[in-house]
């Protein structure tokens, strides 16, 4: 196994062991109750429960798109780190969301994100939000992120900073 691969596996293991803490240090993710449910290499899964104060159309009870924006944006960011050899801090460059169908009132929303390409400075991601499976999506996202060294630009994420230290990062 190459050094890169074993470093990626170590980072993934650290992230999996501290998955709950990754979202805990992001106030807006906490305010919305975003929860990471699974992490794999290059993929992340999360869940958000329906809440009355998420409603964007008071007549139908449909959740506002902004909740999905936060969920998919955050999850895209997380899935990038699962594909790296050393944690990085990242900033969203752009995010495109397509709304396929309204989320149903009272139901949890599940989401998954996939990082399908990474360069030195940029990571490319796709994400999906649904109630049951990707066969019937509520929304899809395409996001690009600028990558930054944690040593130069703090991630603001205790769990990722710790992973960086454990893996001998320069932070």
């Amino acid at each position: 196994m190459s050094t890169g691969e074993s470093q990626n596996e170590m980072l993934l293991e650290v992230m999996q062991a501290h998955a709950s803490r990754i979202m805990e240090s992001v106030p807006w993710a906490q305010a919305l109750g975003l929860r990471l449910t699974r992490l794999e290499k290059g993929r992340a899964f999360a869940k958000v429960a329906w809440r009355e104060d998420f409603v964007g159309d008071p007549d139908t009870g449909v959740i506002h798109g902004g909740v999905l924006t936060a969920l998919l944006d955050n999850l895209c960011g997380v899935c990038i780190n699962t594909a790296l050899t050393r944690p990085k801090s990242m900033a969203t460059l752009d995010l495109r969301i397509d709304y396929m169908r309204p989320a149903e009132k009272g139901r949890d929303i599940l989401a998954e994100a996939e990082c399908y390409h990474i360069t030195r400075n940029v990571a490319f991601t796709h994400a999906w939000a649904y109630h049951e499976s990707r066969d019937k999506v509520i929304a899809t996202a395409a996001g690009t992120f600028a990558l930054n060294d944690i040593s130069r630009w703090a991630s603001g994420n205790a769990a990722m900073e710790m992973a960086s230290k454990l893996l001998g990062g320069q932070s």
Partner: protein, 139 residues
């Protein structure tokens, strides 16, 4: 326009997610200006005191909705088809302002741009959103 603005504000007031954000709208020199007073919960990165992209995006989407609402006679809020959010600068942990530019308001679709800034320079866009909405009340 003034009464329509009060209808926009009424819509925001009875929309739970707009209340959760605490945003408000007012007219300044004939233009709709949305304000998002800062709250700690909006942060995405505490270390660099930056707003969460999902929070800025949500605020801009609501601003775009308010912009379409203001220029139309719709009774229901326009339904989003898609949005593209361009993060131009890091949004700091302070109040955010936004305006909406309705490029096209057709029978069925609307194309809207919304721009957010901080401080007193509206030309220094922090985040920009481009959105398409379904605007027919028939759904």
């Amino acid at each position: 326009m003034k009464t329509r603005l009060s209808e926009v504000q009424t819509f925001l007031d009875r929309t739970p997610f707009a209340r959760f954000l605490g945003m408000r709208c007012e007219m300044k020199d004939g233009e709709l200006i949305a304000t998002l007073p800062f709250q700690d919960k909006f942060l995405g990165n505490v270390a660099i005191n930056a707003l969460h992209g999902g929070c800025t995006g949500a605020f801009l989407e609501l601003t775009a909705i308010a912009g379409v609402f203001l220029e139309s006679e719709m009774k229901q809020p326009p339904k989003p088809i898609n949005i593209t959010v361009d993060y131009l600068r890091s949004a700091k942990g302070e109040d955010l302002y936004a305006r909406a530019i309705v490029h096209k308001l057709g029978q069925r679709m609307a194309s809207v741009r919304a721009e957010a800034w901080q401080g007193d320079d509206p030309t220094k866009t922090v985040t920009a959103l481009q959105a398409h909405f379904l605007v027919s009340d028939a759904g």
